[in-house]
Symmetry: C2
Subunit: 150 residues, 2 copies
């Protein structure tokens, strides 16, 4: 069984747990996210999922997010981007273009993750906050914008 089939099984299961159905539209959204190199905007989703209504894209991505299948994020510009939940793709971080907003996934060395985990622990004990995630973005300029800007 291919990894994508596993993905659909997991998505189906998580939606049913919420009393939701895993419809063709939702399946198409998961396929689009699984095929992308990094978090994608609604505009990109609509371009890739032909015939899908904008409102359905927003609504279904919200349903998928509630079910823990999808993660929504906002990076540089003020438009949201969506990716598969981290437990489906593995922990990773982002490389963000400050010019056009495009986002690529990057892996981070284990030693750095350990330092961040230590920071999270010491911050939680030094404050009254609870800390349960972290987010590390590298900001720069993507190849396309470098070419366009020069």
């Amino acid at each position: 069984m291919a990894a994508v089939d596993d993905l659909h099984l997991t998505a189906d299961e998580r939606l049913r747990r919420d009393g939701q159905r895993y419809t063709a539209n939702r399946r198409a959204l998961v396929d689009v996210l699984a095929a992308s190199e990094g978090p994608v905007t609604i505009a990109e989703v609509l371009a890739a999922a032909d015939g899908l209504a904008q409102s359905s894209a927003y609504r279904n991505l919200a349903v998928l997010e509630d079910a823990g299948v999808v993660h929504r994020l906002v990076t540089a510009d003020d438009t949201a981007r969506y990716e598969l939940a981290e437990d489906l793709t593995g922990h990773h971080h982002h490389l963000v273009c400050a010019s056009c907003g495009v986002v690529a996934d990057i892996e981070v060395p284990e030693v750095l993750e350990r330092h961040i985990a230590a920071l999270a622990a010491s911050t939680a004990s030094a404050t009254r906050w609870s800390v349960d995630h972290h987010r590390l973005d590298l900001l720069g300029t993507c190849p396309a914008c470098q070419a366009a800007g020069s």
Copy 2:
């Protein structure tokens, strides 16, 4: 001379360099940001700077950002927050409440910064991107939301 006076002198200088004036409204905005514990929303700015028009807040913060005095960021919710530019406050990172969106500043150990710098360098050389900043956020729940949620 107090640190706040230095801040106003620097702001004045950077605005003039852009052909802009350092007006009472802009001075008030800098005072609000200097007095806050972390990045603040427009709503918070308006509450603190009495009588300031909303459009003036947005416009002046944009002018201050262009001049390199202010930094605009978007974290958890979809509302922008503003803080003084990093060269005025020192390099720091953020502790973000996933529930209400409030943001606190945190310092990070030098060793972690060095690991992040190394990641930035290796990422730049492994891709065609240029990398010039980074952003590390810890995500959790602030004391107020913990109290409200229990």
